[in-house]
């Protein structure tokens, strides 16, 4: 992008086209605002580091079979508990002789799976409750918000524990339990946004054109709630990862021999005093990923939600 301010031919470069102050079409304006957001996001070094870590994580998860030096499930009792830097086993092996690096690489798939599902279910549930509540008002609003308040007042981890206890251990149930405890903040945010949008002139105009409540909520209110929800979801991702790892650690999430990071810490816990790396390495992986989400969330908040930006 070495664009000079005015190219002789008069045709704007892509960068100029994106940075224009006078967009020619709706799509042009949308691209331009996305590009400006990206520019401001890009100048935030920490957020970029977070983004890079997460992109790397996704690539690692996709290419797991290519990257992993060993099968994550194959046990090799003759080479158990090898230390860091052993030949062929960069991060050592666990108590069953499985390569820790390979298990971490495959474990990234489980982490992304859990986070992805919760990040889909909880905000959508919250969006539904919040927008309906805010738009309908009256008794519907009171009842829905009362329910939201009740769920918001619950201790999340303990409630998730009780849910998993009732539903049975496993990844899907862990996802369900975490989602069930994670949706109320989204409902709150969506309702607050809806209340500010509901009485604006453009909604009245749409209503005068004959749009029903369903169309107004789906086509006009939801799109405006999205950006604050995205920020909140990104900031919540770290909490979701930690909750999932906690459930895995307690033996209530992914079941052995699945290479889930929390479960790996639990396996390595017994040997922590003699073979510290078995439990330490998965913990570092969890830490790195949730740190990346926190960094990214902070950066996104500054771009998408300038009014709440941390001073």
């Amino acid at each position: 992008m070495t664009a000079t301010p005015d190219t002789p031919s008069g045709a704007p470069t892509l960068r100029q086209w994106l940075l224009t102050e006078t967009p020619t079409s709706r799509r042009h304006a949308r691209f331009a605002s996305a590009y400006k957001g990206w520019l401001s996001f890009r100048s935030n070094t920490m957020a970029m580091i977070g983004l890079l870590i997460l992109v790397a994580l996704v690539l690692i998860a996709l290419a797991a079979p290519l990257l992993a030096p060993h099968d994550p499930y194959v046990q090799n009792l003759s080479s158990r508990l090898l230390p860091l830097g052993s030949e062929g086993y960069t991060l050592g092996t666990d108590s069953l002789g499985r390569d820790i690096l390979s298990r971490l690489i495959y474990g990234s798939r489980i982490t992304l799976y859990i986070v992805g599902l919760v990040a889909l279910i909880a905000p959508i549930a919250g969006l539904l409750v919040g927008t309906v509540s805010g738009y309908a008002g009256g008794i519907v609003d009171t009842v829905l918000m009362r329910i939201t308040d009740i769920f918001l007042a619950f201790p999340r981890l303990v409630l998730a524990l009780a849910f998993v206890a009732a539903l049975g251990a496993g990844i899907e149930n862990a996802v369900l339990a975490i989602s069930l405890t994670a949706w109320p903040p989204y409902a709150r945010i969506a309702r607050a946004e809806t209340l500010t949008i509901r009485n604006s002139d453009f909604i009245s105009a749409v209503r005068l054109q004959g749009a029903g409540p369903f169309r107004i909520i789906v086509k006009h209110i939801w799109p405006l709630c999205i950006s604050s929800l995205i920020v909140r979801v990104t900031l919540d991702m770290a909490g979701i990862i930690l909750a999932a790892a906690g459930l895995g650690f307690l033996g209530l999430g992914a079941q052995p021999p699945s290479p889930e990071w929390g479960a790996m810490i639990s396996e390595g816990r017994r040997f922590i005093l003699d073979y510290w790396w078995v439990a330490t390495m998965p913990g570092l992986a969890i830490f790195t990923v949730s740190l990346a989400f926190n960094l990214l969330g902070d950066g996104l908040r500054d771009v998408l939600d300038p009014k709440d930006a941390g001073s």
Binding site: P155, V158, L159, A162, A166, G239, A243, G283, F287
Partner: protein, 357 residues
């Protein structure tokens, strides 16, 4: 999820609720109503959890070899033939009388077990929040006053790491370093094996009981055991408290009355602590109450790492043994304490801070 996060925007939404009811009586009634509704909600959810579990409660009591008649008799004796709403009523009645049923593990009333383990959690969380406040509040104030300096950066990194670190892993690493390698602190458990049941139980808090008994050796030992898990919890509350303190202080320090105070020639110490800090006290107490509630809950994973015989360990042990009465009883107690602290924080804010209206 170690800490609950009360977003300021949420609190704002809470305050913005179109409930323009005037008069103290109405206000008190509505607060009471919301407390009752929230608690009923919690009990309803635990009740439902108890009903949807795949384990048949009748079989878990009478065993699989019972005859059909025995099954029917037990089924009716447990009230399972009644409508759900009646069953819920019975459950409410029991809970109101602190009757959570019998533990399937040790055939003792769950309520007794909880009364025994709860003080251990309380002790841990209290020492933890104390550490969090003592370190977190000054750190937050300093970070706000010296905004952008190295101390602000350190506070920022500490908080970020705290938000991103799995607590159970940090506990393990702490145990490895400070107990396994350095030997500075006592290992898992509340006291060393020689000091178990040495001092009579009065409050259930070993640090207090040993002092009441005048047994300094037990106190020292208990202290060496609690300091590591409590510091861990303290770190998590520090991360939260210092961030909130910082943003509250920044808001105050940019206000005009601070400029006025400075122009009048007031000392910087007086400006910061006498004026700005004075004005954030109510907000801060709210944050601390929420943080304390978070610690009570967050201690679940910590307790397991440190074999701490508190309510977190109790719930998890019961969970793995499919002892549903104990799990639900524990959940209800933690939930009630959590809700009460939340409401307490909310009330403090509403009643003590005139700006909340």
């Amino acid at each position: 999820m170690a800490l609950s996060e009360p977003e300021t925007s949420e609190n704002k939404a809470r305050a913005d609720r179109p409930r323009r009811v005037r008069g103290g009586l109405w206000k008190a009634a509505s607060v009471l109503g919301s407390i009752v509704a929230t608690m009923l909600g919690l009990l309803f959810v635990t009740f439902i959890i108890g009903r949807v579990m795949p384990v048949d409660p009748v079989i878990s009591v009478i065993g699989e070899r019972a005859t059909a008649e025995q099954y029917q008799a037990a089924y009716q004796a447990m009230g399972l033939d009644k409508p759900l709403i009646v069953q819920f009523g019975v459950y409410l009645w029991d809970v109101l009388h602190f009757d959570f049923g019998m533990s399937l593990l040790n055939a003792r009333p769950v309520a007794e077990d909880i009364a025994r383990v709860f003080p251990a959690t309380l002790e841990l969380a209290t020492v933890g929040i104390f550490i969090g406040i003592v370190l977190g509040v000054p750190l937050g104030v300093l970070a706000a006053v010296k905004r952008g300096s190295w101390i602000d950066q350190i506070a920022r990194v500490l908080a970020l790491v705290g938000y991103s670190m799995p607590i159970f892993w940090l506990g393990l690493v702490g145990l490895l370093v400070f107990y396994g390698i350095l030997g500075w602190v006592g290992g898992p458990g509340r006291v060393g094996i020689f000091y178990v049941d040495v001092v009579p139980t009065v409050t259930g808090l070993i640090l207090v009981d040993s002092l009441l008994d005048g047994n300094i050796a037990v106190f020292k030992d208990a202290f060496s055991h609690i300091i590591l898990p409590a510091s861990l919890l303290g770190y998590y509350s520090l991360a939260y408290i210092s961030r909130m303190t910082r943003s509250f202080m920044l808001e105050q320090l940019s206000a005009e009355y601070i400029t006025t105070a400075r122009v009048k020639g007031m000392s910087e110490w007086n400006v910061i602590w006498g004026h700005a800090f004075r004005n954030i006290r109510v907000q801060l107490i709210t944050v601390i109450a929420l943080s304390y509630a978070g610690l009570l809950e967050g201690s679940v994973l910590t307790e397991i790492i440190f074999s701490w015989p508190g309510i977190g360990s109790y719930i998890t042990t019961a969970l793995l043994a499919a002892d549903m009465n104990a799990v639900l009883g524990g959940t209800v107690v933690v939930g009630l304490v959590f809700i009460l602290l939340n409401i307490f924080a909310d009330l403090l804010y509403k009643f003590l801070d005139p700006r909340a209206e």
